[in-house]
Amino acid sequence: MINSLPVEPLIIADRKFNSRLLVGTGKFSSGEIMRDSIEASGASIVTVALKRASLSGEKDPFADILEYLDAKKFLILPNTAGAMNAEEAVRIARLAAAAGLPQWVKLEIHPDPNYLLPDPVETLAAAEILVKEGFVVLPYINADPVIAARLQDIGCATVMPLGSPIGSNRGIESRAQIEIILEQARVPVVIDAGLGAPSHTASAMEMGADAVLVNTAIAIAEDPVSMAKAFALSVQAGRVYYEMGASRVTKMADATSPLTSFLD
């Protein structure tokens, strides 16, 4: 229903996805709202994280997250958040695969606690190992075209440059660098992090991003289900615009009504 506008499917690592909106599962107030929001978003790829279990007996509220996600409908994409370096990220990826999740990983290594910006050196090191082990690797990166190219050389399935810091809702702040990444990309580019409003995701798609990932702006909205739909609509709208070729931007006006000699 929402997916009513026919756009080209997203293809990552030879797998076809109907939606170009990836959704994160963090920060929702309940499992039910998370499930309904993801449903409303039309997403085909949904991220999850891994976390040390508490051994002191108290129940984790979301410990049963997989009960809310139908692995037949979505690709469940584990991330490596919390990893401080390449080695930890690799271990997390392997744990996720051991748990039966698909051998895909959103590789994110961001030791800085304030801005959660990805460390390119550790990310490259981890990507190299994981690609060799057969993982489909989707690395979260700063908007650095050189790092993006290196990760593609290594064999990553996408690159995921950040628009702005995770959860900041500031939109696309490194537009110029992302344009270069898009121009040079040989794999799908997913803009991740900081996309806080439908105009941000529309704009990302209009620039030519292959997909976007949204989490905070949906999860903490007053009504996450409607917000999820809103983002889904904006992603479609932006993609249609991109596929059609951007409007010509002019300096001067160009009349939409006849102007000459209306009345004497």
């Binding site: 999850v48 040390r52 279990a53 051994l55 991330n79 996720a96 051991a98 748990a99 999860a219």
Partner: protein
């Protein structure tokens, strides 16, 4: 009855003394976790559910027990 020997392991950074020969599922149950809800890395090797089920705890084992949780 003979008292069973204890072995020492580390799980998620904490030290535990457990009966020798206990299985991994048994150990998890002893700390109120179920093998169905967690993933375990033993001595830096991630275990599949099948492997985990059949694993016996050995002296000096280092375990990481993790859950799949919400994340972006």
């Amino acid at each position: 009855m003979e008292q069973s020997k204890l072995v020492q392991i580390v799980a998620n950074g904490k030290t535990f003394n457990v009966r020798e020969g206990i299985s991994l599922p048994q150990f998890l149950e002893s700390i109120n976790l179920s093998i169905k809800n967690v993933v375990v890395e033993r001595n830096r090797i991630a275990l599949s559910p099948m492997d985990a089920k059949n694993t016996l705890i050995e002296d000096g084992d280092s375990l990481e027990i993790v859950r799949i949780v919400a994340g972006g």
